[in-house]
Symmetry: C2
């Protein structure tokens, strides 16, 4: 069975909430998930969208909606005052880890999400990010070196461009057998798609 | 138990799909629904948003998403080439009917949705709209006169302004006990809210 692609931006609350559920959802249908961070800001240039909290009315709604989802799902959550954060460094670290050990990279991604959305730690510097990688079994020094490597910078750029070229323009963005699903609130539809085998 | 408010724009496919479900959803929890059309375009000036199909990437996604929802739910649907349509006239007719017979107004709203999204009939002129009202038991001549009445024009304007002042900025937009839910894909969360009595 084909893997499910889970595209996300590290500073997206909706991605954080989806990240709590996507692996278990896939497993219920015998599927596995490939995690793929990208830089959502790059899509704003193409879609004309912008950060949610900067949008009149929609920003206030989003803030309330995130708190409501956290309470509904029992997910630890407190939006840091400095939001969104620049997610370049953890996104680069992810791909470096992923090339070596996808399971480690997935644990790292969950650790990054939790640090920002539950602990108020901004995972934006090589030192902080490498510390989070070490928390889940990564090599601190190697991660610090990796995120400054031009090759991994190019890698993230290429992944982001590739995502945009496939019309992946939101976070989270789940692809099942070529079918795109945008948003946390589409996970029930993703599950229905898996249950029925499409329609 | 307090009524549920169901705000919508007549030319919104997501509202059309939600309109198929909202009354039954509410009834499962002993609630009734007050239907409230408004002019979504008026909110675009405040939110900086615009018609979905004009947005790069998001437009193509929306078109695919609407067809997918129609297939999933078994709802008759074919997006007319002329989309969106100017919904001033049916929105005015709705309020005129609603003041006299809310049940008739609700049947009329469903008739308007079906005409556009299932039959390819654009319900934008007084004659067509009055014919749709007559289909569900309305008085054709009275509706034609009503939609040209300055009082009902002002009424729709006031309802739309009132909605925007309450931060109702999307379609459909469901309000349950003061709690706002934006979108067709939030109906499962609306149901969960009703089931739990909030959280």
């Amino acid at each position: 069975m084909a893997v499910i692609e889970f595209w996300f931006e590290f500073s997206s609350p909706y991605a954080y909430f989806a990240a709590q559920e996507i692996d278990a959802l896939a497993a219920r249908h015998g599927r596995t998930v490939v995690w793929r961070p990208f830089m959502l800001g790059a899509s704003f240039k193409r879609t004309g969208m912008g950060p949610l909290l900067h949008m009149p009315m929609r920003g206030d709604y989003a803030r309330r909606d995130w708190e409501r989802i956290a309470r509904m799902t029992g997910t630890p959550y407190r939006l840091p005052a400095a939001f969104p954060f620049p997610a370049l460094v953890p996104s680069r670290a992810f791909y470096w880890l992923d090339d070596r050990d996808p399971e480690l990279a997935r644990r790292f991604a969950k650790r990054v999400f939790h640090a920002f959305f539950a602990e108020g730690v901004e995972p934006s510097t090589p030192e902080v990010v490498a510390g989070l990688a070490a928390d889940v079994g990564g090599d601190r020094g190697a991660v610090i070196a990796a995120v400054n490597d031009p090759a991994i910078k190019e890698r993230l750029k290429a992944e982001t461009e590739g995502a945009l070229d496939r019309n992946i323009f939101g976070s989270p963005f789940t692809i099942v057998d070529g079918e795109p699903f945008w948003g946390f609130d589409r996970l029930p539809m993703v599950e229905e798609w898996l249950r029925r085998g499409g329609w």
